[in-house]
Symmetry: C2
Subunit: 277 residues, 2 copies
């Protein structure tokens, strides 16, 4: 199978940023499958409804999307790629609706927060209404024919629902990027510059994390990310998620992972994959 | 001034979990000041409207509340205490409304997600409606006299708005705790078991984080938390937030902090304070 026409599951309505990421990664021939929850994305891949899933894992402003780290841990899928895309929120309304008519702004609470200053400047009187979804807010405005409201979502959402962009780039901070990972049922043998993602936990004793980082530092392996995540049911004990430059299929990476496994109480490699741009 | 009758700012409507945390920390005589945003909590303390602010920093299921870490970094306030409280979501409706009449469940998206299974079991047909706030959803139901809906919020919210609890403990996972920090204009000289919170960044080179953890490991200092946080405007570079057991006013802690300052590119102590229970 080529990467053309791949079926790829994502969370959200058509026009979600995850769909934009899928198109950026696989090209316009990709066949995106919208899913209600992140769980459903994993399910769609596992049950072979689709070949790939795409999941946001980290936003440059908001930090990690913990839910997806939890699901990567629990599900037997592999990370086979990554991509990061800019998040540009557009103010989107029904065609013909003018800025002066907008009394309500609908979007996900995070998008509303990221556009707070722009909304205040452009629409000082507007009421902010929280929805589940950025693209979903645009879909709802279109379906319910809401003529006094606008949504905050991607340009792709505006196109898909035949809506009009009243104002581009509503985000207050231009450095707004989200990093996505691509998951599959089988691992890949990556080429080029490779990243590996691993999750582990350590006994809750002083110096434990230091020892686990020594595994990489002693081998001059560069870490690109470390994240601690509460262990469910064990209050204030943590899983650690680490991304490092290198492959589990090369000697240095393999040695580091063997060493880590030796000292960790739990250990799982999520995948080695080509580093995204 | 005693700790009685202290004015304490918190984010959210009356009845928010942050208010419960303030009462648990300061006692029932506390005078809580509701604020719209986390920013306003910092502002209220800085402008001497209140003596203290209380802020959620970490939930055992959802992880860290990054926004508050950012604000702790930017504002010249000090952490002077911490407390963790269980998060128990109650299904709350107008008095007289029965479970069978509830067609809509209102709450913050995170609370809705945390009660997903309970809602599906108890109210299989119910529509979920996202609001900004847990307690705010109850306030809205009361003010707008919504007779076909219920909110998910604290028991305290039900009492404050004179509402009825249809079902207790809606959260799917019982191990749902949130940790709050108390902030003030002046630091405290803590006694008993002490924690210190520090934020720093390192040059983006291999082994940098390892070196910074050596500062603590070499002195047998126990870390209770590590968090990486994207540096605003510098994509995928990170601040690190660390909590350790010990005081900046004791020799060992002071030595570790001096050592860290020596190797960090940015460094700030957020406070030493009595460890919460």
């Amino acid at each position: 199978m080529t990467q053309d026409n791949l079926r790829v599951a994502f969370q959200g309505e058509r026009g979600a940023y995850s769909e934009s990421a899928a198109v950026a990664f696989f090209g316009e021939t990709v066949r995106p499958l919208p899913c209600k929850d992140f769980d459903d994305v994993f399910e769609a891949v596992k049950t072979e409804q689709v070949e790939r899933g795409i999941l946001p894992v980290e936003n440059s402003l908001a930090g990690s999307i913990h839910r997806n780290y939890d699901l990567l841990l629990r599900n037997e899928l592999f990370i086979v790629g990554e991509i990061q895309i800019p998040i540009a929120h557009q103010l989107i309304a029904l065609p013909g609706v003018t800025l002066a008519e907008v009394k309500k702004v609908y979007s996900h609470p995070q998008a509303l927060a990221q556009c707070e200053q722009s909304i205040t400047k452009l629409l000082p009187q507007a009421e902010r209404i929280a929805t589940y979804d950025t693209a979903g807010s645009v879909k709802m405005i279109q379906e319910k024919n809401i003529t006094d409201g606008a949504g905050l979502a991607s340009e792709r959402a505006a196109n898909i629902y035949g809506m009009h962009i009243l104002q581009t780039d509503m985000q207050d901070d231009a450095e707004n990027y989200t990093r996505f990972v691509v998951v599959a049922r089988e691992p890949v043998m990556p080429t080029g510059e490779v990243k590996t993602s691993v999750v582990f936990s350590m006994a809750n004793i002083p110096g434990a994390l230091f020892k686990s980082l020594a595994v990489f530092a002693l081998r001059d392996i560069d870490l690109t990310k470390i994240e601690s995540r509460p262990l469910q049911g064990k209050r204030w004990q943590y899983f650690f998620y680490i991304d490092f430059i290198g492959s589990q299929y090369e000697e240095r990476g393999q040695n580091a992972l063997n060493h880590l496994q030796e000292i960790a109480t739990f250990f799982k490699v999520l995948g080695s994959y080509p580093r995204g741009v």
